[in-house]
Amino acid sequence: MKIHLTSVLVDDQEKALRFYTDVLGFEKKADVPLGEHRWLTVTSPGDPDGTELLLEPDAHPAAGPFKEALVGDGIPWTSFAVDDVRSDYERLKDLGVTFTQEPTDMGPVTTAVLDDTCGNLIQIAEMRETG
């Protein structure tokens, strides 16, 4: 068994696709019309066969209150690995991305938390030490 797909609940798929590709740098993989929405996934740059991230509509009535409560407490439900949190922080800040947590050393990892503009907070994390 392996993890091949995970998802973020987004308020607008087209806006999400732009943010996750143009701003964060992921690459579009699947884009299949599915009723009023799309089966829309992105993958890490240069790794089209890697784990896919599904940009899933947050249409379920429970999704709104759930996302709102997480964001209110600053909780990122999703985390991406980066090589250098501080340089990504600077790069994304310049692109107008909002951060709710600046780069901070948290034990063996350095993390920062950003707003994906689609109703989610996303953590970016850099492992500084192994083991």
Binding site: G72, D73, G74, T100, Q101, T104, M106, V109, V113
Partner: protein, 106 residues
């Protein structure tokens, strides 16, 4: 307003103030992450939330909603009044609580 001394009487709450001194304006998530990773304080998010409520009630932490996020700030006013009372008692705003004997003489 809650008792500032009671608020400060707990080591986790003092750590929260330490962390807010290092960076003012943190989400609940950041405070919990810092306590867990720096001090291995494995308190639940609810417990930290309650600690923050005690600190807020004593006036040493202020939480502000900014858009959809909520940030916590240290508020040193009550701590300055403690310093004024015993460290530099000559200052006019030194005490908001008169000693009982003076109160009796009025």
């Amino acid at each position: 307003m809650g008792d500032v001394f009671r608020a400060l009487a707990d080591p986790t709450r003092r750590r929260i103030l330490d962390e807010l001194t290092e960076r003012d304006g943190q989400t609940l998530f950041e405070i919990c992450s810092r306590l867990a990773t720096k001090y291995r304080l494995a308190s639940s998010r609810q417990a930290i939330s309650q600690h923050l409520a005690v600190l807020e009630d004593a006036g040493v932490v202020e939480s502000r909603k900014e858009g959809r996020y909520k940030f916590h700030y240290i508020h040193t006013g009550p701590l300055e009044r403690i310093a004024d009372r015993w460290v530099s008692p000559g200052r006019p705003e030194a005490s908001d609580e008169d000693p009982p004997d003076q109160r009796a003489r009025r």
